[in-house]
Symmetry: C2
Subunit: 283 residues, 2 copies
């Protein structure tokens, strides 16, 4: 599988890593990086991540075969709609945003008939942002969720899947609703929790934190604006996930308050078991 011209809009950690991975693995003949930020484009040139670097999509729209949007979730739909009008028939558009229902709804009925959009979300990345942390191996053995339209062009979904597989990822397909439900639990809730935990600390205890605190709150160091957009775009599912988590906290509170040893042990064991199973799977 080899894309002729891959255009990546937004070359931060994810976009930059896709460019490096596609180059290393020969997944695209030509790579064009689009970014509005001049310093990012300069760094993109210095790192040699693309054959061409431009500030706006319209300059390269006609050449694009596959366009990957790695822009924040709250501006993504508008960018895709604008870009779609400038592309050649048959161009495939995809994205890497952390929520899928909002973008899918925003695009419904608003793209030219001969342009396909396939929603995507690589479950990779970290609290480190920006092109300076881009890594050609970021997607190796990572899951990429695709949410192809049920009634869309099947070929587009297959091609985008093959592209991610060429970068070393494992592709899973599901509906946007399934994605947003699951990721509210496994990604958006943990982010909210890590941030709330970190933000609840009085400054004077900072010197008494150790590696456990640092692990638990690591993702709280992420960009607030980016995560505000993600949490808001998936607010209903995040609130449901939060309610589920608060119920579990309530069980801990009751067990601790009433001195119920067996219940507290059971709650800690449930947490241990789910977590330990993840390590066994990944090793």
């Amino acid at each position: 599988m080899r894309v002729h011209t891959l255009v990546i809009v937004g070359v931060g950690l994810i976009g930059g890593s896709v460019a490096l991975a596609a180059r290393r693995r020969g997944a695209a003949e030509r790579i064009i990086a689009v970014d509005r930020d001049a310093a990012t484009l300069q760094l993109a040139r210095e790192r040699g991540i693309a054959d061409e670097t431009v500030p706006t999509f319209d300059e390269v729209a006609a050449a694009a075969n596959l366009v990957l949007f790695c822009t924040p979730v709250d501006v993504l739909a508008d960018e895709v709609i604008l870009a779609a009008r400038q592309c050649q028939p048959g161009t495939i558009l995809t994205d890497a945003a952390s929520t899928k229902v909002a973008i899918t709804r925003s695009l419904a009925g608003r793209l030219p008939a001969d342009i396909r959009f396939v929603g995507g979300h690589p479950l990779a990345g970290s609290e480190k942002q920006g092109l300076q942390h881009a890594d050609a191996e970021l997607f190796r053995d990572r899951v990429v969720v695709l949410t192809p339209a049920a009634s869309g062009d099947e070929r587009a979904g297959i091609l985008v899947g093959e592209f991610w597989e060429a970068l070393g990822a494992r592709v899973r397909r599901m509906s946007p609703e399934q994605h947003d439900h699951a990721l509210a639990l496994t990604s958006h809730l943990p982010h909210l929790v890590a941030s709330a935990l970190s933000g609840a600390m009085p400054p004077e205890v900072a010197a008494l934190t150790s590696s456990g605190f640092r692990d638990t709150t690591r993702i709280a160091a992420s960009d607030p604006a980016l995560w505000r957009g993600i949490l808001e775009a998936n607010a209903t599912e995040v609130l449901n996930a939060l309610a589920r988590f608060e119920e579990q906290l309530g069980r801990f509170r009751t067990a601790l308050r009433s001195g119920n040893h067996a219940e507290l042990q059971e709650l800690l064991t449930a947490g241990r078991d789910f977590r330990a199973a993840l390590d066994r799977k990944s090793s």
Copy 2:
């Protein structure tokens, strides 16, 4: 500073690491490891962590100058009281338990007049338990909190502090109450939160977790029995810390439900700022 005979009771991750560190840095002339578990003692001999390995303290009590108890918090006080009766006058006892008020109260008035106990807590360790993970550098640049009795022998507190400094640690002194208040926030609450988050996950979402979830829940993989003891020993402070955290969660919920962008951004920024400051301090 050099202890003549150091006895370590319980050679898991912490006790084993103290033995290795004391050996490497010459902080004790002779090291005796005490552990009831035969397999652990066998491993202690194989790794050569001590000059002598014995199953019970009474065999070596007469030789001890400094005794470090690294046993679970719920059995620690009884062990210290029993051991103290067998020691020579002037022997100094200390511990490495994660809570300090309960042990201090349990020991009050119950030790021989010529035996000193100095409460201690190295803020080191991880979700990995056991002597197999012991590391001579575990305490380097880590904080060790000491809670010497206000009316006790000052010399004992100084000696225990010098011992930990000899292992590379930074010593901070405070009251048991100050310790348990701060650690409820920075250690016990994060543990409870990580465990509740992990335990709240339905099994089918396991395949959709990524590094953010793994970081946030890493400490949930710890031993449930050990942590049940810690949470119970510090239940009042942990419940206060939990209430503080739940208030912060409530702020997130309100902001998300009402679509209050500015408030959500502010909450995420507070979480980012506390966490990011920790990285700046440690680098």
